[in-house]
Symmetry: C2
Subunit: 197 residues, 2 copies
């Protein structure tokens, strides 16, 4: 088959995370059967997002406004900054509705394999923010993986001299999780961090 606009579209779709050739073909056919009410609006939505969404200069969140809606919200507690790797993690915490402080998006995790070093993360601005007298606690909400934990160590190191309270997410049994399916590391940690019933 030659490279028609259709094959080009399928190739581009199949390069998206989580999509393969088969799902890309399926999506392309779906879109071509709904050109006016789905395909063209999707193209417009992509362009609108690419043009209007920017990184918040304070926390690194994605928003149409800069600083972002969270940084500008007078209702948010300015005493807490929750450090996350990606905007997706910020959204995950926002969906819980249980955190009302500020955020700091690092933009990734240290990774030797992917060649991501300290200079690729928003650590300088985190350090600057940690000097804000309003800030009383930095919560390191980074993944419990090797990359996540080495990033957490580095971030804690950078802000240690401010004497701020630095916390991390609790490790333990996920709510609704069955013990039988959990790995030994999680169960060990949950045992060590056990609390009064």
């Amino acid at each position: 088959m030659t490279e028609t606009p259709l094959h080009h579209l399928i190739k581009m779709l199949s390069a998206l995370p989580g999509l393969g050739n088969r799902s890309a073909r399926r999506i392309a056919l779906y879109l071509l059967s709904r050109r006016e009410d789905t395909m063209k609006p999707l193209a417009a939505a992509l362009l609108a997002a690419a043009e209007n969404i920017r990184d918040c200069r304070i926390c690194g969140n994605l928003d149409t406004a800069d600083p972002c809606a969270i940084c500008c919200d007078p209702q948010r507690e300015r005493t807490k900054i929750c450090v996350v790797a990606q905007v997706g993690d910020l959204w995950a915490i926002e969906r819980t509705g249980s955190y009302r402080g500020l955020y700091h998006v690092l933009g990734g995790l240290l990774s030797a394999i992917d060649g991501i070093g300290p200079e690729d993360l928003r650590l300088v601005s985190l350090e600057r923010r940690s000097h804000d007298p309003a800030c009383g606690e930095i919560i390191l909400a980074l993944s419990a993986t090797v990359d996540g934990q080495s990033t957490a160590h580095l971030a804690a190191d950078r802000i240690a001299r401010t004497g701020l309270k630095i916390t991390r997410l609790a490790h333990g049994v996920p709510v609704g999780g069955e013990l039988d399916y959990l790995d030994e590391g999680t169960i060990t940690t949950a045992l060590q961090s056990r609390s009064a019933a």
Copy 2:
């Protein structure tokens, strides 16, 4: 969260077949981190495909040219027309490289649930094509489902009076398939259609 261009984009992505909220968020973040080299080209590819891809007036295939490249290809055997439900099925047969005849895309299957009747399928043009003196065989390559088989019966009925050879795909054990995992219907058909070893 209010309806920003980002949430609008995620909502549109999550409505695509095979994608949910989580995968749509992941794709949106991936695209926003590659705006110039992936996100804007994808929007352009969507628009280009929406504008330039059309249904072939002869067979219903999707292509930039009308009639499509297959209908115009002098190398294809004009004696055979392979009837398929969707363009995706045509692609699946083309990928085998084992068929060199023409196609006819019905545009769906009869479905009481989805309200698809005979008038929604390209049956009139199939009937017209079956009168072409060059055509010697109609291959009904429709799914082995209830909808597929009732559509095959209807199509065969419409072209029966031309006295053409009408064939259907063989049923049997898929190549590489394990008997143990096959349903009884397939094994019964494969037994009945057994051939000399």
